[in-house]
């Protein structure tokens, strides 16, 4: 098979990158198979051919595409007749808004709640790299942020309210059926359950119920990987 998805890996073959999960789910949505190639944070030379330093990277025959949004639009435009990821031009732009909100509001809030748990599961070779880069971003030690977890989870809850209200009305972010807007937001929660034994979603949460539906998709694709059973 000529299709390969390069994705981040931690210890125990844990695939925890939220961006890589967006690509993995988009490929499954399009019914496109791809072999996954694990890449550690400190394995940058493995993806140097892509021209960038981050995963996901998709190699599709002669084409190399890096960046999760570029991969999604590439798949939609290259395979337009199979299951649309956006449902048209309006859906494409609006999904891009969900993408920016997830990157700039949801994931930073979630990162604060799970950073200590990520540190625990990154590959041994990556721990020093992870600590240096993330503590620079946090402006504090990983341990200090970890100790503040209860406040971080409470702050996350407020950030999630627009998503929670949406999912109380619609079964999926994209309406009656899942599409790329769902995979963007789902990547964040799959990231959390891949690294953290502590639930960030609890009880009768519409987001939790949706996450379970997402885990069931494509034969339980996202449920079948190393992760924590964190449903409270």
């Amino acid at each position: 098979m000529a299709r390969q998805l390069y994705e981040l890996v931690g210890s125990d073959d844990r695939r925890f990158s939220p961006y890589c999960w967006r690509a993995r789910m988009a490929l499954a949505h399009k019914r496109l198979e791809a072999a996954t190639v694990p890449v550690k944070f400190t394995d940058k030379e493995k993806i140097a051919f892509s021209g960038g330093k981050t995963v996901p990277v998709l190699v599709d025959g002669p084409n190399t595409v890096r960046d999760s949004w570029a991969i999604a639009t590439y798949l939609e435009d290259t395979y337009p007749t199979t299951n649309s990821l956006f449902g048209g031009p309006e859906g494409r732009a609006l999904a891009r808004f969900v993408n920016h909100w997830t990157d700039l509001a949801l994931q930073p809030a979630l990162f604060q709640a799970i950073v200590g748990d990520i540190y625990d599961v990154v590959d041994a070779d990556d721990k020093e790299y992870f600590r240096e880069t993330r503590e620079a971003r946090l402006g504090r030690s990983i341990e200090e942020v970890r100790a503040a977890r209860p406040e971080k989870v409470a702050a996350l809850k407020g950030v999630l309210t627009p998503l929670r209200m949406l999912l109380a009305e619609f079964p999926f972010v994209s309406g009656a059926k899942p599409a790329y807007g769902d995979y963007i937001a789902f990547g964040a929660f799959q990231w959390a359950r891949s690294v953290s034994p502590h639930p960030v979603l609890k009880g009768e949460d519409a987001i939790l119920a949706w996450r379970e539906r997402m885990l069931d998709l494509y034969g339980g694709l996202a449920r079948s990987v190393p992760a924590f059973d964190d449903a409270a």
Copy 2:
């Protein structure tokens, strides 16, 4: 004409409700004419027939619809062949996410920056009502929040980043053409320019450029009303 839109009015016939602007723009998008009926905050009996206490209320022949989102979906479903407001089911659900984000993140941040200016332009009959209800919501006096305007504008800037990044890539929130996702977000900025002489958007801001495109739509519909020329 049998179609009427009840909307909030301030002094000088100022129509400043962000929710009413969503409805006004949605009607224009569908090329549907409607007479507007001004309603003050303390004029609740005028809209009692709707079963609610808030505007917008749309009366369309035999049908009465209240709440801006209900009006948008009513218009889309009742007049499906003219200019779609959503571009399909994915676009409808994703626009609802923009709606919740606007209500829960954008508008509360904007409200903090402009609340003193809103107080200045509400109808004289409404000032006492406005002060009581808004100070209860703020937990502080209008004057105290107004004095903190610089910090409030700075906080707003961070909240707007996902929208700003989207509009740096697409001419409209909904892609190549405006649709309901645009009207939701635009309502907030039209609210601001209807009440405040102080710009909340400055310089080379992609949001400001988009707002100008929105003001040009439908023969300058939103530009032609009493408002401040707040472009910095």
